[in-house]
């Protein structure tokens, strides 16, 4: 737990909130400081997301953003994820660029047995080649489920009456790695990222160990 706290604080100390989606830094015009985004794809389920971000003109370019996404289903608001954070471009050498991203996801899940509320920490790096109208890059990251509040339903208590409700720390984490690419035109960006998932320890993996997200962004 202490290690998790230290990691989070150090990462936040870098003043970097999060953004899940891909950014082509070179497509931003000097007067463009904000963007909105809509995205869909497979992100632990068939999801739809909306986001808003703002670029800051610091020594190293920084983007701060918030994003809300939810999976498909009959009950649209019982499960969701809010990501708050950002990214900072730490290296730029000609067309090559490397970006560090830090996220603080807040997630909720509910089914007939349990309600889970989770605070996580997500750290990733993206590196690749960027031009004004396109880019291609690779990414690697880790999404830690730092603290999860578990509340069991009466139905779950029929199975195990002594199950304990409360904050469980930690409750796992998943690595993700893959490729991303995008094109930019006018004030718009279209990007796609896809890759694999593996659970911490690399011995187990999610039920669907893949992700693929398509996004459209509008800069202004």
């Amino acid at each position: 737990m202490k290690n998790s706290i230290i990691i989070i604080i150090v990462l936040l100390g870098m003043t970097v909130p999060v953004f899940a989606q891909n950014i082509n830094w070179q497509a931003f015009q000097p007067e463009q400081k904000q963007f909105v985004q809509i995205q869909t794809g497979w992100d632990y389920g068939l999801t739809l997301g909306l986001g808003y971000g703002r670029k800051f003109n610091t020594r190293m370019p920084v983007l701060v953003n918030i994003e809300y996404s939810f999976p498909a289903g009959e009950r649209l608001f019982d499960d969701f994820k809010v990501r708050l954070g950002g990214q900072v471009e730490v290296i730029r050498r000609g067309g090559f660029s490397a970006t560090v991203k830090v996220y603080s996801p807040f997630r909720r899940f509910e089914n007939s047995l349990v309600r889970l509320v989770n605070f996580g920490g997500e750290f990733s790096g993206v590196a690749g080649f960027y031009r004004k109208h396109w880019y291609v890059a690779g990414e690697f990251g880790f999404d830690k489920a730092i603290a999860t509040h578990v509340r069991h339903t009466p139905l779950a208590r029929e199975t195990y009456p002594n199950a304990r409700d409360g904050w469980y720390v930690p409750t796992g984490g998943n690595y993700f790695y893959g490729l991303q690419a995008g094109v930019s035109f006018g004030n718009s960006d279209i990007s796609l990222k896809a890759g694999n998932l593996a659970s911490q320890g690399w011995k187990t993996k999610p039920y669907v160990p893949k992700y693929a997200v398509l996004a459209y962004s509008y800069r202004f």
Binding site: T58, L84, G166, W167, Y168, P170, K203, V208
Partner: protein
């Protein structure tokens, strides 16, 4: 300036949250927190020590009566959902229940220790444990994966079993099982059930030996079979004790990698089997039941009306099944 203020606020908020969490922090891998204790952790549970492991097991009825060994599904489920079968004890049978190795409340092992041979050896050891005399007849009642396990055992030991009731085994070859699984888990991409099952993966995960959190997550995942849009047609969620995630993963991986065919020697088993399937499991049906059961030379095929895949667990299915099951067993007793 705005960025620094934003970051400071975020750090303070997170600090408060972590501090609040730490006050009542629970460990998901502490035995008993999320899932019940297993027999090696709780000596008060009924158990037997066989074949190098400790199995959660109990038996009902006169010890010298014909044995009816109940084999649960999964892999990784437990016998709680089959406790209706206790009724056979009142009708002259010695009914034996056991949670398979790594399942239910039986002892957990490492993933690399599980294989199909050890599962069959466990079944044989359970039979030998409860058998009181040489002439005692032995019947198997296997549901779903339990029906597959029973068939694998009969295929290897056709002379050791006096009859069997098989309830919707997925298949006796890998191809049959894959076909059934594709139908039984064919949820819409937009369904709540599918998205609940997979969305969970970002909240809970465990390393290979963290049985508590892995079993807990698997139990939540398996609840999908009780959903209204599940093709298997159950009336609701099944009563269970504790799922066995690691044994499920291990045996499923072996099946996927090596395949299997447990029909090669079934023509040597000429006793009639009772093969039951349910009216409401749209993924199974008469066609699949006929195809799977045809590996046996003599089959009594019976459809359990007004029930889904877990027809032995819910009242209507059980009421429709029991007289037929009892008549079958009595005919061979």
């Amino acid at each position: 300036m705005k960025l620094q203020l934003f970051s400071l606020g975020l750090i303070l908020a997170l600090g408060c949250l972590i501090s609040a969490c730490q006050k009542g922090e629970l460990d998901p891998n502490q035995p008993g927190n999320l899932v019940p204790l297993t027999v090696d952790q709780d000596p008060s549970l009924p158990s037997i020590a066989v074949n190098g492991t400790q199995l959660h097991a109990e038996a009902f009825g006169h010890p010298d009566s014909a044995l009816l060994v109940v084999i649960h599904g999964g892999p990784g489920a437990d016998y709680r959902y089959l406790l209706n079968c206790k009724a056979f004890a009142d009708d002259g049978f010695r009914v034996v229940f056991y949670d398979q190795r790594g399942s239910g409340l039986s002892k957990r092992h490492t993933k690399d220790s599980y294989n199909l041979q050890v599962v069959w050896d466990d079944l044989e050891a359970v039979i030998e444990h409860y058998k009181t005399h040489a002439g005692q007849k032995v019947f198997l009642l296997g549901h779903s994966w339990g029906g597959m396990l029973a068939t694998a055992y009969i295929n290897a030991n056709p002379g050791k079993i006096d009859g069997a009731i098989l309830g919707e085994p997925g298949g006796f070859t890998y191809a049959q099982m894959r076909e059934y699984l594709d139908r039984s888990h064919g949820y819409s991409l937009f369904s709540e059930t599918l998205n609940d099952a997979v969305y969970l993966d970002q909240f809970l995960s465990g390393r290979g030996d963290e049985h508590e959190i892995l079993d807990y997550k698997f139990g939540l995942w398996a609840a999908a079979d009780g959903a209204k849009d599940s093709p298997v047609g159950n009336e609701g969620p099944l009563p269970t004790w504790r799922a066995g995630a690691v044994v499920f993963d291990a045996l499923f991986s072996i099946g996927e990698k090596d395949g299997f065919d447990w029909t090669t020697n079934l023509d040597h088993f000429d006793t009639t089997i009772l093969f039951v399937y349910s009216e409401n499991n749209t993924a199974y049906g008469e066609a699949h039941a006929s195809k799977v059961s045809s590996a046996y030379p003599n089959v009594q095929l019976f459809r359990v009306d007004d029930a889904g895949h877990d027809m032995l667990s819910f009242p209507r299915g059980w009421a429709n099944f029991y007289p037929v099951g009892l008549a079958y067993l009595n005919s061979l007793k």
